[in-house]
């Protein structure tokens, strides 16, 4: 009996199956619970939801509020614009860095790659607090900026300090800082695989360096751009900690809304509905990503 299960094929099936089992237990089942909860009715019991009453089984109040209450719409818009801003900035900063990494010699490359990953070695919260310290109105950094501003502009525009904290700007800035490695690493992996003789071929055929980049490097790095973009955009859109700590509390992001609905408002069905809506919004870009990935892999196989 045991021998029948633990042969070569059995092992490989098990290794392949394990992540699926993991996803089933720790993602799919909880998600189904959340979906179920989103159709429930809020009660004052513990847990604070139930089925029955006026709307047995399916109660769509939560979903209806998503479209009518501007709080949710604004939260979604804020989340998506902040995440998109962070993604674009990460791309603009990360692309030259990734390209630069592929052009330095091997020894330096490993050191520089290490430096890209290095921030992960310290606590994420600690790093956000460090940014709070930097941006706060009494910090040396803010005073420096204030001094520089007051020195440059006419006296009428003088400010007591530069308002950095509690703004969408601060949220985007810290998100760019946090998620930059997620943009650089897939881009680097993509750019590193490109054949440098293609650049030479383009140059040989009359292209100046910028045209070589535009015609050869950039089109070939689109899978990397998409991978990096998704890896930044998706977690950034659902980000909770950064907007809570440095964001503007009058225009919360969606992660904050979900958290508030669950904990302070104790409206679990509403929180679940928002979470389901966020997931549906994220599935779109994910599908674009996996389609590109599948196409890139198919091309590689046929070569």
């Amino acid at each position: 009996m045991i021998a029948r299960w633990f042969h070569r094929r059995g092992w490989s099936d098990m290794v392949i199956g394990l992540p699926y089992v993991w996803l089933l237990i720790f993602f799919l089942i909880p998600f189904l619970i959340v979906v179920g909860m989103s159709f429930a009715t809020r009660t004052s019991t513990a847990p604070p939801f139930g089925f029955g009453g006026e709307n047995p089984l399916i109660n769509l109040t939560g979903y209806a509020r998503l479209f009518t209450d501007t709080l949710y719409i604004r939260a979604f818009v804020t989340s998506l614009t902040n995440a998109a801003g962070a993604m674009v900035l990460c791309l603009l900063i990360g692309y030259p860095m990734a390209l630069g990494l592929t052009r330095v010699d091997r020894g330096w490359r490993n050191i520089l790659l290490m430096l890209v990953i290095l921030p992960f070695w310290t606590s994420f919260l600690l790093r956000v607090y460090a940014w709070m310290g930097l941006m706060g109105s009494n910090s040396w950094f803010n005073k420096l900026l204030t001094g520089a501003w007051n020195w440059v502009v006419p006296q009428a525009w003088d400010v007591a300090n530069v308002p950095l904290m509690h703004s969408n700007f601060a949220v985007v800035l810290v998100m760019v800082y946090t998620y930059l490695p997620f943009m650089i690493l897939p881009l680097y992996a993509n750019l590193e695989r490109l054949d440098p003789t293609l650049d030479e071929a383009a140059m040989d055929l009359g292209s100046r360096p910028f045209a070589v980049f535009r015609d050869v490097t950039l089109p070939q790095s689109i899978p990397g751009i998409i991978a990096g973009g998704m890896l930044v955009f998706i977690p950034a859109a659902g980000e909770l900690v950064i907007p809570t700590l440095v964001g503007d509390s009058s225009s919360p992001m969606i992660g904050r809304v979900i958290s508030d609905e669950f904990s302070s408002a104790r409206d679990w069905p509403m929180a679940s509905a928002v979470a389901v809506a966020l997931l549906i919004l994220m599935v779109g870009p994910m599908m674009v990503y996996s389609r590109f990935e599948a196409r890139a892999q198919a091309r590689e196989r046929s070569e």
Binding site: T197, A201, M203, D204, L205, D215, V216, P219, E303
Partner: protein, 363 residues
């Protein structure tokens, strides 16, 4: 005399302490196919890359059509290159690949399209115009690379191991195709190759390179039949080489070859003196095998030690009484079964050769 199309003037290239190319001077005429032949690491590819502008010479100068190339970047040189890996753009169709260089030409859209069609026609790929490089075969990719490099009508085409990635049958076919395309377009070709047969069939002239130095330049026949050194003789085909000493110079030169245990007559050449040490060299196909004793000056007696039957010809290794081994190449001109063969293992044979075939090498 008119100025050569390419003039390489005392060019050297070092990478750190490694000297890849050492003081090379060459002139390449307009319209010829010129081969740089040598083993890996002999500097032939580095020389090609300097012509394309990807590397700058450490010393010396390169002139193309009389213009010093030192300050001309790759994208402004009248030179195109066919890369060993072909370096086709994977995200562009065959058509776009071929037309890529034309983007930089001041020509109308329809002229450009016509030129691409003309090139597709030249390499017989019209029906594959809209395919991507990964959707066509290796031989077709090679032709796309050639068409792309020829599209802008360069003065000079550099080909880096153009046939190395093709299988044997396709290689022979493509060789002739390359030659006919060269003839039709009139573009000067510089071919880098490690394959001596490829170099011999393709080229008008060959430069044999070794360790960054050009050892000999000449027409394929001249380099093969009159090599100036043991290295060149060995690199192009195979050769029997023995140490020898000049003993007499008359109408013919007599050399004493201790390994053969006798003297050998060679056609007279200048620049030798009695008593000088030379290398006596003889190509295997210049030797005739006899089953019965023959009279004459250049006759060696021996025994067949080894034989390799290739079908159209055979290679014999004949052991002499002195212990020396001589390789002999003989065409199997007559049809014969195994037991009727010219010679078999351990047969006693006599070898003869013409004094004119004997090479006396001092290098």
């Amino acid at each position: 005399m008119t100025e050569a199309l390419v003039r390489i003037d005392g060019v050297s290239k070092s990478f750190g302490s490694f000297q890849a190319v050492k003081n090379v001077s060459l002139e390449i005429e307009k319209g010829e196919i010129f081969s740089l032949l040598g083993g890996s690491g002999c500097g032939k590819t580095t020389l090609l890359r300097m012509l394309a502008g990807f590397e700058a010479p450490t010393q010396g100068r390169i002139f193309i059509d009389g213009v010093d190339m030192a300050a001309v970047p790759p994208w402004e040189r009248p030179v195109h290159m066919m890369f060993q890996s072909y370096a086709l753009f994977p995200h562009m169709t065959v058509e776009k690949n071929i037309g890529y260089g034309l983007k930089h030409e001041a020509m109308s859209h329809s002229d450009r399209a016509a030129r691409v069609r003309e090139m597709l026609d030249l390499v017989q790929l019209t029906q594959f115009a809209t395919r991507k490089p990964h959707q066509i075969s290796g031989g077709q990719r090679q032709r796309v690379a050639l068409a792309r490099a020829l599209a802008r009508q360069p003065k000079l085409l550099l080909l880096d191991e153009p046939l190395a990635a093709l299988d044997k049958k396709l290689r022979e076919h493509t060789q002739f195709e390359l030659m006919s395309i060269q003839e039709r377009t009139g573009v000067t070709f510089i071919v880098v190759t490690h394959d001596q047969e490829e170099a011999m069939t393709l080229s008008d002239r060959i430069a044999v390179m070794d360790q960054g130095v050009v050892r000999q330049v000449g027409r394929p026949g001249a380099v093969y039949e009159f090599p100036n050194s043991k290295f060149v003789a060995n690199f192009l085909g195979s050769i029997n080489a023995f140490e020898a000493k000049v003993v007499a110079i008359g109408a013919q030169i007599t050399v004493d070859v201790p390994a053969l245990g006798q003297t050998v007559q060679a056609r007279a050449v200048g620049g030798l003196s009695v008593g000088q040490s030379v290398t006596m060299a003889l190509r295997p196909e210049k030797i005739t095998i006899h089953r019965t004793p023959v009279e004459g000056a250049n006759v060696l007696a021996g025994e067949i030690k080894d034989l390799a039957y290739f079908g159209k010809d055979s290679l014999y290794r004949v052991a002499l009484p002195s212990g020396a081994l001589v390789s002999v190449h003989a065409v199997n001109a007559a049809r014969a079964s195994d037991d009727e063969r010219l010679a078999d293992w351990y047969d006693k044979v006599w070898l003869s050769f013409d004094p004119a075939s004997v090479l006396l090498l001092t290098d």
